[in-house]
Symmetry: C2
Subunit: 882 residues, 2 copies
């Protein structure tokens, strides 16, 4: 039979899944002989049972709770509700993963009208007793009974005002008695019942409230943002109270074994004498730094320093501890691995290895890959940021921080930049490929529509530019060139705003930024990852500049070079448009002839930058209408340029209109309808490879055909590529090794991967489209749906940001299996946005891919994630969340 | 080692796959002792090898061909190319399935300048010899060497004119010598070589040409339209020539053992004396009816009648035969199961059972399910049709024929109908749900955009209304209300056109139509199918009227009742629009309250019509913007109606705009964002069921939640449904059994079908959307892509019309397996358009579904297809084409 409640003496740190992080660590500290107030833990499995049983605590669990309570009473010699020797407890949540601030806590439980009277006698401190009681009533009413805390705060302030009290501490015991009286009235008013006087009822209700809080909105959101499954549940810690507010020989504090900002190896913390934990947080009195405890109570200080050292040695990680001094006696209330900045994480990991505490592999597991982002991009100056208040929040689409003047059209942004303006922010309802030049000059990009894989988000991440996308809290009026924030404030062209692409926050005005700085620790640390990972890491790069950035970050090749991005630049789009509006193959070839030398030059640049590393080039992919103008003015000027009537051009644009362009004429479909396009692109690739090859540059082009759903599509385009390549090589009298493969981004391609692999030399999973099609959900239209789905706990994560292993992952595994069966040495990679997401990289490791490819700035993240996956795999820990 | 060439004596009718239909039957007749000119067959496997070997006939096959030629020479005592005893042969294609007129034929092969001289001596008929030679040169040049026949026809006509010849037969032997001379010159001009004089080379080239012709455009199109896989290949029949043009004692003819138009049991045919087959076809001389042969040559007539009887008895099917009489001797050149009209097919099948020739099950296999369509819809009067010439061709989207006056807007059509106009044809670029009323009054619908599953096509099939969709050969200008056909002729409102929804043809003016008439044979025949099929057949019906039609055709329930169609009617759409533009839940509930009684009434009508049969009702599915107007005028009038500013309404419409609506906010996503919608719909369903139940009508509602991709979506909506239903039943003090299940139409639903089945009581495959998402291809945008894909032989069939078993089918099979594992008694059906397609029905049988659901007019087709699948399954024949 399952055991649902554990005394602290019965558990240890390894029982984290069952006891939650906090509970397991309390047990561990108890086992280590540290002074921990006694208590017990109700397990996470009890929480899971609670939900299975229809939000009820089953009889067997209830019985066990009260058995262990009796045990606790025996050990402490105190009894819950006993006036003479009352046991008072705290009730705290504690889940498997650290979820700070996410769950609710009740202190001083066990007080009632009788017990408080006993406490007065026992402590000879009436003020303390009633202060504890009023705190308990507030917390219990708020957390357990869901009566808003505001009611109690208001009543409390009224009593203070009536008595001319400035600080809480100015209130007398009698004042506090009055407070308690009024609080009980508030309770009665809201609940039509008296405040519960039975401490056992109080306890039981509090446990239920902790279980309930597992599914409050804050918890759901935190889990989603941190990849925590909803079926883990939370444990409940019930622990004897100790008090830091019993006089000047009492106090409370928090401390880290190393500096969480810098990683410096130095005890770091603060404390307040004669105070409870919540007073430290409230910030009315300024806490003292931990060193000062040495003068206040050197014995306790030495004792604490010893414990801190012991805990760090024991856990082999930087610890974040809470302690309380009750009448000169030190109690340890919590320890856990401390949160830290990215810089600190790296320094601590590297120092731990230098100090011989952990191995390189263990150190690799100590750093969260997602943290690395912060190291690679500019950030706001922390103090300036702390003073700023967001005026809207969108999706954190591309990390980093930016302050600048807003422009509403790409060309305005470009003009401003040409005019010397460095601080440009591009603001658009949504971006389109036409905006690419404006995006490239911007420090930051803000859109009001689109999701994490919208055009703005994808392109910004590729460029390493800060981007807040899908910010529906602002209204953007492109016509009148105004932005309105959630408070109704309007911003015109040239006004300053600031964007935090790591949080999605938008700020009014300028905020100082600090540049990213890669320390020596970064280089040391990241080089370790390469020793253990099995996945290669490539990059998605469309220009020599991107390729160079990626190489700097450790990219081992290009996994996706999108050829269309080369055609949105001002001097090239004319030829592209000419091609699109062509009515005959001959006209189209003439336009393509103009494009050929530009494309060849692009490839030469990229091949040189990647010297010898493989380069996967995708043939033209997007629907042609993306290259054509929409606005009347643009149509007129382009019609003139192309020597057409306006109406004629309009009619071409209309004929290219599609109801669902995502499912329309793009990818290999273009290549099949207009075989001259892959012909010219192949010629450009092969000529470029031969040209730079003559200069001694090694080239391994991999030509990738997009949007394949059927083997015959692939064979048709492959034949065009092969025939053209053979012809060009013959003309040039050269030889060249190259591969021809395909994107796997259509569900049917996964289902028929054996057929496709019989012809394709490599697969690259295009998980953006694969996810959209497997879910039937367009990334451009998903915003409102995802918001609701997160609110209603239907999706736990955004499948466009993280691979859905249960559905999309199944398709990928099927394709890997079928593909390898048909061609044992097939190259397998991923070039969707997921290639830079740590949990998706982990999935790719287990799925047996050869490489992941991601935007240049994500390369280090992917390297670390790949290394962590390999280490976990080796140790038999397979953690893939559904 | 494979054998690639068979003498007629070596084969039989069972070897159809290897020898092709024609070849196998020639062998069979030879075996039966009928007088068949001797010959041999090159197998379909040789054709497959030809393509595998890169369009080359391998040495081993070449060797075998000439070995069997030697054999034939030995048997006939004649030799190819021997002047003294020349062997002349015909070379004909013959694939596994009958493909009449699809493949090309060469006659008189073996003639050259020398042999023709020998033939003159041998036959003592110079005219005959040179006539044969000129015919051979024409056919060989045309079919084998791809020199257009027009060149030869022109030269032939010139000689006729120069010599004042009216008929071909007016030409003398010398004239024909001149013709041969000129023909050889034409050949030389085009090929820069002399006409091949080596008969063995002629033979070898002819065989290759037959193989090549397997992939000519006509063949590809025919295969696609008739579900014939491209990898079957064709056989080649090489047969000694016999001549019906050797004098008045010679002749040629064709005959059917029963009347192919009516099915009457009576030998039916025609013949011409002193003629070759092509003369019969050319129609210059009027053939005589077969009975007249009795007076021309009673002995041959009796002999032929005997053979015909023998063949029908032997094949147990109506035979279509070709024969030639050479100098008074009868030769049988071909026999095959005859093509017949739908009426004839039914009569023959029923008669055969009555005559004790075949069993009911065998008779079921004799009728092509697709033929039944013609019986259920009006058709053009055949003679009137024969005289008409199409002015454009679109997709045969919904069968039947219609003549009428054209209207360009739904409301114009409705007004005309109200004004007493019966013959209304609605002409639109594409239809939208707003057009539903106009569509319902129309006799026929013509659109210039959209595919086989476009809105127009789907709705028309549901209504049983003739529809030609995606007719890009016409230009429709809705603004100026004109239609322009492919010849440039303009039609204005009120002008007559005629549509053939079974062929896609559009005609100028009126063509007389004849109504469908269901004969007694139909009832007898279709009742047999119910005894053997395992699949139940339901219907997709949204109105009591549709439901009644379907019941008449044998539907056993409703598999899909779309609730949204009920809201496009004039008096209801206002409430629907009010709901959509609502800003608060309260407003929305108020609008829904108006909708409730209407919806309840609809359901009551349908429940009564379906008395006791299960009714699957799908909750609201389409994107809301479909209900809102687009045109400025409509916006103004609706804004007024809704008491809104124009701009406000416009802004709502804009906010509902989606880039890819197919992948947007619809289906269960609507129900999750606005739970009040499924609440009201559930209330309407339950109240309706209870109301009619009180009147003694049995009701089994199955509530279907669309577009599920994740189990949590399903649970969320299911909870809304269940809670509402419980509440309503409590209010009404009633009890009711009902099911809650889901559409399976998103790939991810198939991949996670086990999870979904743990909560869903039934699955209904929505193969329209499943196909679109599995292929990444929108049905609305697929037109141009499919055209190119068919032209380039990339797709062999339209996956929106027929289930793609290799991809989509795999997903379905996965869902069936996972679903049944999780819930053994789960109901499984299909309600996509594929439910009425015979080959898809067959797939559903083998996939183990419980039922198919299709539009009312397709119910008999589905019943027959299901019966055929069950019979084939029982006999171990599993024919699912990839």
């Amino acid at each position: 039979m399952a055991k649902y409640v554990y005394m602290f003496e019965e558990g240890n740190a390894k029982m984290r899944e069952l006891l939650g992080g906090k509970g397991a660590n309390l047990c561990e500290m108890t086992g280590l002989g540290l002074p921990v107030p006694r208590g017990f833990v109700v397990t996470t499995e009890a929480c899971t049972r609670y939900y299975q049983d229809g939000e009820k605590i089953a009889g067997d669990i209830e019985k066990e709770i009260f058995e262990q309570l009796a045990n606790l009473e025996k050990k402490t010699g105190k009894t819950l509700g006993d006036k003479g020797a009352p046991l008072l407890v705290s009730v705290r949540s504690g889940s498997r993963a650290s979820m700070p601030g996410m769950m609710d806590t009740v202190l001083n439980l066990g007080l009632n009208d009788e017990v408080v009277a006993g406490l007065v006698v026992l402590t000879e401190n009436e003020r303390f007793a009633f202060d504890s009681y009023r705190r308990f009533i507030t917390m219990f009413s708020d957390v357990v009974m869901e009566i808003s805390k505001a009611h109690f705060d208001k009543a409390f302030d009224a009593v203070k005002e009536e008595n001319g009290a400035h600080l809480d501490t100015d209130l007398t015991a009698d004042n506090l008695k009055e407070v308690v009286k009024r609080f009980k009235a508030i309770y009665r008013e809201h609940k039509s019942a008296d405040f519960p006087q039975d401490p056992r009822e109080q306890l039981f209700e509090a446990v239920k409230a902790v279980f309930r809080s597992w599914n409050n909105n804050r918890a759901i959101t935190y889990r989603r943002l941190n990849d925590i499954p909803s079926d883990w549940g939370t444990a409940v810690n019930i622990q004897e109270m100790v008090y830091g507010n019993m006089g000047d020989d009492s106090g409370t504090g928090v401390a880290f074994t190393r500096d969480p900002s810098t990683g410096e190896n130095k005890l770091y913390g603060e404390f307040l004498m004669n105070a409870q934990g919540e007073d430290v947080v409230a910030g009315i009195r300024t806490p003292q730094s931990l060193e000062q405890l040495n003068s206040v109570n050197p014995q306790v200080y030495d004792e604490f320093v010893g414990y801190a050292r012991k805990l760090e040695d024991h856990y082999k990680d930087m610890q974040d501890m809470e302690f309380t001094i009750e009448k000169g006696k030190l109690f340890m209330l919590q320890t856990r691995n401390g949160k830290r900045t990215a810089q600190a994480a790296l320094k601590i990991a590297v120092d731990f290895v230098r100090e011989g505490v952990v191995s390189e592999e263990d150190a690799i597991l100590m750093v969260d890959p997602r943290q690395l982002d912060a190291l690679l991009h500019p950030n706001f100056e922390p103090k300036a940021l702390a003073a700023a208040k967001p005026v809207a929040k969108g999706l954190p689409a591309s990390p980093g921080a930016a302050s600048g003047k807003i422009y509403f059209e790409a060309k305005d942004a470009v003009d401003a930049h040409k005019g010397g303006e460095e601080l440009v922010i591009l603001v658009r309802e949504e971006t389109s490929p036409e905006d690419i030049e404006g995006m490239s000059v911007a420090q930051g990009i803000l859109t009001s529509r689109g999701g994490m894989t919208s055009h703005a988000a994808v392109v910004a991440r590729g460029m390493g530019t800060c981007c807040v996308a899908g910010c529906s809290e602002v209204t953007i009026d492109e016509a009148s060139k105004t932005l309105t924030d959630k408070n109704g404030k309007k911003y015109a062209e040239g006004d300053y705003i600031s964007l935090d692409g790591s949080t999605g926050n938008v700020y009014d005005g300028r905020i100082a930024t600090v540049d990213a700085e890669l320390t020596g620790d970064f280089e040391v640390f990241i080089s370790w990852t390469d020793k253990v990972r099995q996945l290669r890491v490539r990059t998605n790069a469309d220009t020599p500049h991107d390729a160079e950035t990626a190489i700097k970050f450790g990219a081992e090749g290009i996994g996706l070079c999108r050829t269309e991005h080369m055609f949105f630049e001002e001097d090239r789009i004319a030829a592209m448009r000419e091609m699109i509006v062509s009515k005959t193959e001959e006209q189209r070839r003439r336009a393509l002839e103009k494009i050929l030398p530009m494309q060849r030059k692009d490839f030469e640049g990229i091949f040189v930058a990647m010297d010898g590393k493989p380069v996967t080039i995708r043939l033209l992919d997007p629907p042609l209408h993306e290259f054509l103008p929409q606005a009347d003015g643009d149509i007129a000027s382009i019609a003139k340029e192309l020597n057409m009537e306006n109406d004629e051009l309009r009619s071409v644009i209309r004929s290219l209109h599609e109801i669902n362009p995502m499912l329309g004429n793009r990818g290999c479909r273009l290549a099949i309808i207009f075989p001259e396009i892959p012909e010219v692109q192949t010629r450009a690739i092969i000529e470029a490879a031969v040209n730079v090859g003559k200069k001694g540059v090694k080239v391994l082009p991999e030509i990738m055909i997009p949007l394949i759903g059927d083997i015959k599509e692939f064979v048709y385009v492959k034949n065009t590529v092969k025939e053209t390549a053979a012809k060009v090589l013959k003309e040039l009298g050269a030889e060249l090794d190259y591969l021809v493969g395909t994107m796997i981004e259509i569900p049917r391609a996964c289902l028929t991967a054996d057929e496709i692999a019989s012809e394709a030399e490599f697969f690259s999973f295009g998980t953006n489209d694969l996810t959209q099609m497997a879910y039937g959900l367009s990334r451009d239209d998903a915003g409102k749906i995802l918001d609701t789905y997160f609110d209603k706990n239907i999706y736990e994560f955004d499948p466009t940001a993280r691979i859905d292993t249960r559905g999309v992952g199944k398709l990928m595994e099927m394709a890997v299996k079928l593909g390898r069966e048909a061609r044992a040495d097939i190259h397998l990679g991923i070039c969707g946005e997921h290639g830079g997401d740590p949990s998706s990289v982990e999935f790719c490791h287990y799925a047996g891919l050869d490489y992941v490819s991601c935007s240049p700035f994500r390369v280090p993240i992917a390297r670390l994630a790949a290394a962590q996956a390999a280490i976990k795999d080796k140790s038999g820990v397979k953690v893939i969340h559904g």
